[in-house]
Amino acid sequence: MDLLDNFRIALRALSANKLRSALTMLGIIIGVASVVALMAIGTGATASITGQVQGTGSNLVSVSPGQLRAGPAAASANTAILYLSDAHALQAGLPDAKYVLPIFQGSTTSTYQQNSVRVNTIASLPTYPTVRNLSLAHGRLLTDGDERDVSRVAVLGSQTATDLFGPRDPLGQSIKINGTSFKVVGVLVSSGASGFSNTDQSILVPLETGYEKLFGVAANTTGRRQVSSVLISAKTPESVNGILVKADTILRRAHGLTPTADADFSVLSQQQLLQTLTTITTTLTIFLGAIAGISLLVGGIGIMNIMLVSVTERTREIGLRKAVGARRNVILLQFLIETLFLSLIGGMLGIGLGWAIAEAVTLSKLITTSVTPTSVALAFLFSSAVGVFFGLYPAYRASRLRPIEALRYE
C-alpha cells in the first residue's frame, strides 16, 4: 500500500469519528488561541508603555517626587513633595537645559453641555507641547500671553475633543473643568499613543491659570505651590548625564538633604525611565504568559482526556486492523497522520481565533496588540506535541499487542 492509502485510511477514521476529532481539535484550538491572544496583549502593552516614553523625545529628564524604583515602592513616595520653587532652582542652575517645565496635573471632570468626561488636566508652560512632541490640529496653542493674563483657555487632546464635542467644532466653545469655565482655543493631533498616561485624553491649561483658578488648595501645601513633576529638556543628548548629576545636587540643596541621605525625589533620564518601565512590563508579560501557560495546560489535558477515553475503542480497532493484515508501522503511520492532521488544523484555527481576539482588543482601543511569531510557534509546537504524544502513545502500545489481545481489550 502507498502513502496515499495511509492518508485515506487516516482521514476516513477521522471523519468516521467527527465528535472525537472535533473535541481533540477544540483542546488544541483553546490552547493555541489563548497563548497567541494573551502574548499579543502583553507585547502590545509593553510596546505601548515604552512607546509613550520614547515618544516624548530622547533628551528628556524627568523629576518626580519620591523614589521611583522597580520593586516595592519607597515609603516616602506618598509624602514627598516637589515645589514650584524647586523647578525655579533647576531653571536657574541648569544652563544645559533648553526647557525646564513645571507640571501640575490632576484628574478633572470636564463638561460641555450634557457631555461629561473624566480627563487628566495638565497645567504647564506654553513650551509643553514642544517638549512632548505634540502638534496642533486646529486653533492655536497656549501662549505666554495666556500665562501672563491667567486666561481661562484650554487646548484639548484629540480624544477629549471627540468625547465632548462629537463632530462639532470645539474652537471658541466654552467648557467647564471642575465647574470652572474655560474657552477652547485649540485641539491637538492624536499622538497615537494609547493606554495609561495618554495625552489624547487630556486637557492643557496655562500653569498660572491652573494654580489660580483650577486646582486651588490642592496645588498648595503650607502656602507653597507644588508640582506633580518637572520635565527638563536637555540641549543635546550628551548633556543629559550632566543634568542628572546637577539636578540631584540642586534638589538636595533645596530640600536640605546631605549628599548621602536618601533623596525624596527622583531624577530619571528617558533611558532610566525605560529601564524601570521595562521591568514593570516584563512582570506583566510573565503574568500573562503564566495565564497562557495554564490555558495551554488545560487544552493539553483536554486533548489527553479525549485520546485516553477513546483508547478502548481504538485498541479494538487496531486489533481488527492487524487481524485483517495491517503491519504495525502502517497502523502507527495512520495514527501519526491522524494526530498531525488534527494538530495542524486545530493549530491553524487556534492561531486564527487568537489573532481575532487580539484584533478585537485592538479595535476596543484599550491596547494596540501585536501577535508575535514566537508565541504562535510556541503554542503550536506545544499543542501539537501534546496531541501527537497522547494520540500516538496508546496506539503504539495497542499496536504491540497480539491482535486477539487487542480485540479483547477492555
Binding site: A16, R321, A323, V324, G325, N329, R402, I404, L407
Partner: protein, 269 residues
Amino acid sequence: MIDIENVSKVYTLGESEVRALDDISLHIAQGEMTAIMGPSGSGKSTLLAILGCLDVPSSGAYKLDGVSVEKLNDDQLAAVRSRKIGFVFQQFNLLSRTSALDNVMLPLTYAGVGGKQRRRLATEALQKVGLGDRLHHRPNELSGGQQQRVAIARALVNSPAILLADEPTGALDSKTGDEIISLFQQLHRDLGQTVIYVTHDPFIARHTGRIVRIADGRIAGDDQVEHPLAAGTPRPSDLALPNGPAPAPQTAATQPAALTLPAQLPVAA
C-alpha cells in the same frame, strides 16, 4: 494444510497459570470443512486464534502451508493473515460509522491492492454474501445477520486459503445463524476453501464433515460426519424423529447437556 504438533498455550493471570491449550496435535487437510466444539473455557477459541495467526502458541509447532508460523515475527504474521487467512468473529468487529464497502476493502488496502481493483473485489465479495444492494450502508444500518455477512465478505475478499470463524452464529438468533451456516457451506462448495468454525451448537456443527471436540485444552474427540446436513435443513425441532420426542432447539445456553451426551444427537458420530 494445517499441521499443529504438541501445541500448548499458557496464560499467566497474576500468580496462577492457566493452560488454555495442553499439548494439542491436529491435522486439517486443504478443502476440509471442520467444526471445533467444546464447552466454554475449553480452549477452542484459543485454538482458533492460533490457527488464524491472531495469537502464537507458548510451545509446539504450527505449520501452515509448510511455513513454520511460530517462528514468524509480528509483521510476518500480519502478512500471513493478509494472504492466507480470513477470520470471522462472533461480534462481527466491523469498523463503526464506516460503510460496508469500506469495511470489506480494508484487507485489500493492507494487502496493497490498487484502488480500482479493490473496489471491484469488495463489491463482488458483498454480492457473494447477498449484500450487493447494501454497499454503502453502515453497520448500524444493518441487521445482525447482515453485519455478519459483511464480516464474511471481508474475510473472503482476499481469497484466503482458510476461512476461520469463531462462533459466527453466537450473536445471532437461530434462524439467522442457520442462514449464515448455509452461506459458509455454499462458499465452501463454490470456492473450495478450508473452512473451520468454532461453535457450541451441535446442529451448526453437523453441517461440517468433521467435528473436533475440545475439553480442558485437550482434544476429546475427532469424528467424521458421514452425512453433513445440507444447507437449509430445518432445525431438529422441526425434524420428524422416529425415536423418542424431538429435542428443543439446541443452543448452548439452553442445552449444555447435549455437549456431554453426543449419542442423543441425530449425528453420525
